[in-house]
C-alpha cells in the first residue's frame, strides 16, 4: 500500500528529454489527461459533492446539524470505539511483526496469510460472525444474556466488529519494513549490553516509528469509518449504538440530506487529514531512506 519515490532521479538532460525511455510529448500529455480525467470523475467529484451538499443550506444549517444530540452521541461513540480498537490492534501489530520479522519458524507463511484474512472477508460477514457467536440465538448469546452481559446491539459488539475489520492494518505496515531492516541493529544493541525491552524501545522503535504512525492512522480512519460490519451488530439504536457512518445512513434515509452530508463532511475531513499526514510521512520516509546508510 505504501508508495515511495522509487523513480530514479537523473541529472537534467534536456537535450535527451525525449530519449529512448520516454514517450513523445503529445503521448505523455494524452496519458496524463486520461488519468486525471478518470481520477476526477471517480474520486474528486464524489468528494466535492460531500462538501457542496453539506454547505448547501449555509453555515448556520451546517452547524445546526451537529446540535442534534443524536449526532453528538454518534461522534462520541465513534471516538470511543476507535480509542479501544486502535490500541488493541497496535499492540497486536507490534507483537505479530516482531514474531514474523525477527524469527523463523514453521508455519510462518500460514500465519501471515491468516493475519491478512480479515482483508478478504466482507465487512457484512465480519458482523455476521459476531452475531452468530454472541447474538440471542448464537453460541454464547443465551449464556451471556443470562449473566446480563450484552455484546450484540451494544458497545462490545461494535468494538469487536471494528477490531476484526481493522485487524491487519498495523501488522501489514510493520512486517515488510522490519523484514527489510533485518536483525543487525538489534544484535548490535544486545552485544552492547542492552536488555530486550531497551533494545526495542531505543533501537527498533525509532526505526519503525513512521511506519507505525502510518499504520495507526490507516487503522484509525478505517475504524471510525467502518460501516458494513458495524451496521450488522449495532442495531441502529439512536443515541446509543449509532456510530457516525450509521448516523449518516439514517439521516440520508430520512431525506435529511444536510444532516447526512454534514456528518459525512466530518468523516471526509478525517479522511483528508489522514491522507495529508500519510503523504507527509511518505515524503519524510523517502528522505530518511535516501540519506540513510547504504546497506
Amino acid at each position: 500500500m505504501s508508495e515511495r519515490e522509487t523513480a530514479p532521479r537523473r541529472a537534467p538532460a534536456p537535450q535527451r528529454a525525449t530519449a529512448v525511455t520516454a514517450e513523445p510529448p503529445w503521448m505523455r500529455r494524452l496519458l496524463i489527461g486520461v488519468a486525471l480525467l478518470f481520477l476526477s470523475v471517480f474520486l474528486i467529484l464524489p468528494l466535492a459533492v460531500v462538501f457542496a451538499e453539506a454547505f448547501r443550506g449555509g453555515l448556520a444549517v451546517y452547524r445546526a446539524a451537529f446540535a442534534d444530540p443524536d449526532a453528538r452521541a454518534a461522534i462520541a461513540l465513534t471516538v470511543t470505539v476507535a480509542a479501544i480498537a486502535v490500541p488493541l490492534n497496535l499492540v497486536f501489530g507490534i507483537a505479530a511483526a516482531w514474531a514474523v520479522a525477527k524469527f523463523d519458524f514453521p508455519g510462518k507463511s500460514l500465519l501471515i496469510t491468516l493475519i491478512d484474512l480479515p482483508f478478504s472477508v466482507s465487512p457484512v460477514v465480519a458482523g455476521l460472525v459476531f452475531v452468530l457467536l454472541f447474538g440471542s440465538q448464537g453460541w454464547l448469546g443465551p449464556w451471556l444474556g443470562g449473566a446480563g452481559i450484552e455484546i450484540i446491539f451494544a458497545l462490545p459488539g461494535i468494538v469487536l466488529a471494528t477490531v476484526f475489520v481493522t485487524f491487519p492494518f498495523i501488522a501489514r505496515e510493520l512486517i515488510p519494513l522490519m523484514q527489510d531492516q533485518g536483525n543487525a541493529d538489534e544484535e548490535a544493541a544486545l552485544t552492547l549490553g542492552a536488555s530486550g525491552l531497551r533494545t526495542f524501545l531505543t533501537v527498533t522503535l525509532p526505526n519503525i516509528k513512521w511506519a507505525l504512525l502510518y499504520g495507526v492512522l490507516l487503522c484509525n480512519a478505517r475504524a471510525m469509518g467502518e460501516f458494513g460490519a458495524v451496521a450488522v451488530v449495532s442495531g441502529h439504536i439512536r443515541g446509543l449504538t449509532n456510530t457516525m457512518p450509521l448516523h449518516v445512513e439514517i439521516m440520508y434515509n430520512e431525506y435529511n440530506l444536510v444532516g447526512a452530508f454534514a456528518m459525512a463532511s466530518l468523516l471526509a475531513s478525517l479522511a483528508l487529514v489522514t491522507l495529508a499526514i500519510k503523504s507527509f510521512l511518505e515524503w519524510r520516509f523517502a528522505g530518511a531512506i535516501a540519506s540513510g546508510p547504504a546497506h
Binding site: 543487525a184 541493529d185 544484535e187 548490535a188 544493541a189 544486545l190 552485544t191 552492547l192 549490553g193 542492552a194 536488555s195 531497551r198 531505543t202 533501537v203 525509532p206 526505526n207 540519506s291 540513510g292 546508510p293 546497506h295
Partner: protein
Amino acid sequence: MDIRALGITKEFGRAAALRDVDLEVRSGELMALLGPSGSGKTTLLRVIAGLEQPDAGEIRFGDVDATPIPVRRRGVGFVFQHYALFRHLTVSDNVAFGLRARGRSRRPPPAEIARRVRDLLDLVQLAGYGHRFPSQLSGGQRQRVALARALAVEPKVLLLDEPFGALDARVRKDLRRSLREIHDATGQTTVFVTHDQDEALELADRVAILNGGRVEQVGTPDEVHDAPISAFVMGFVGESTQLPVEVRAGEVWFREARMAVPPQGCAPGPATLFLRPDDLAFCAPQDGWPGQVLMIRRAAGGRRAEVKLAGPGGHLVEIDLREGEAAMARGDIVHLRVRAGRVFPARADAAQSVESRPQSGRVPMP
C-alpha cells in the same frame, strides 16, 4: 582474556556450518579467521559472541563457561559487517549506547560517559564528529564509529565480522593500520573474520584457516604460508600453481622427470606438487622442462610469467622474473627447474578448487 572454543558444532537445517571446532585465542592476541565463503568463519564468530547458540560444544572466556551467558551479558564488542549503526542516533549517542544501557549501579555518570566517548572518538580519529549522524559519514568513518561503539563497553574480546569488506582499497589499507595501532594500544583480545588472505597475513598475530566448517590450521602468518599442513591451506594461502606428480620410492616424479623436492612424508601414489612463483627458476635446456611463455604481467610489485609446459596436459605454472630476465617476451621458449615445492596427496576437491584460478591460488567464490 583468552577465549576457547571446544568442540563447537552448529547446524543450519541439514547443512553443518561448524563441525567439532576447537580454537584457542590467546589473551591480547589479534587473530584472523580466514576462509572461503561458507567455510563457517562468520558463524564461529557469532557463536563466540553469543549471537548463535552452538548445537554442541562450549565457549570458554578464561575459566568461565560462557555458553549459557546471553549475548547482552557476555561482554563482547562486535563490529558488524555493515556496521549496524543506529541511524537515528548521533555518532556520540551511538558510542555511548552501551554505557547508557547499563543498570543504574554500573552506569557511569553522564560527565564520565561524555569523557569516554570523547576519548574513544579521539582513538579512532573522529574527534569533532560526535554530533553528526551516521548518514553524514563516509564508509570508513562509519567503520570507525562501529569500532568505537564496540570498544566503549570495555569488552573482554573484540569481534569483527569482515571489518573492511565494504570499503575501497585505499580506505581499507588505512583502516587496517589503525586497527593494528588500536589493538597495540589497548591490548584487547581481538578476533576478526576475513576472506582476504592479504588482510589476514598482514594484520593478524595468528591466523585460523577454516574450510567446510572445520579449522584446517592455526598458526602465525609465516607458519600458514611457509608450512601449510594441507593441500587446502597451501592452495588458499599465498599464490601457487600445481602439477600432478607421483610419489615413487621416496622420490617425486613429474612424468619422467625427478623433481628436486622430497616427498615430505607423502605416501606413494598420485600426489600434487604445489609451486610458489619463486619455487621455479630458469635454467639451461638440459637441466629442466621446456615450456612457452603465454603471458607476462605485473604482480606483487614485480613481473611474473605464465608458462605453459610442453607435453600432454599443457600444465600452466607461474614464475617470478628476476632482474636480468626482464627481456623475456611472450611466445619465448624457456626451460624451468623446480627449486622447492610442497607435495600433498592428490585430493580431488583441493586440486579442483585451486586449478580453476591458477593465477592467485585463492578458492573462487561459489
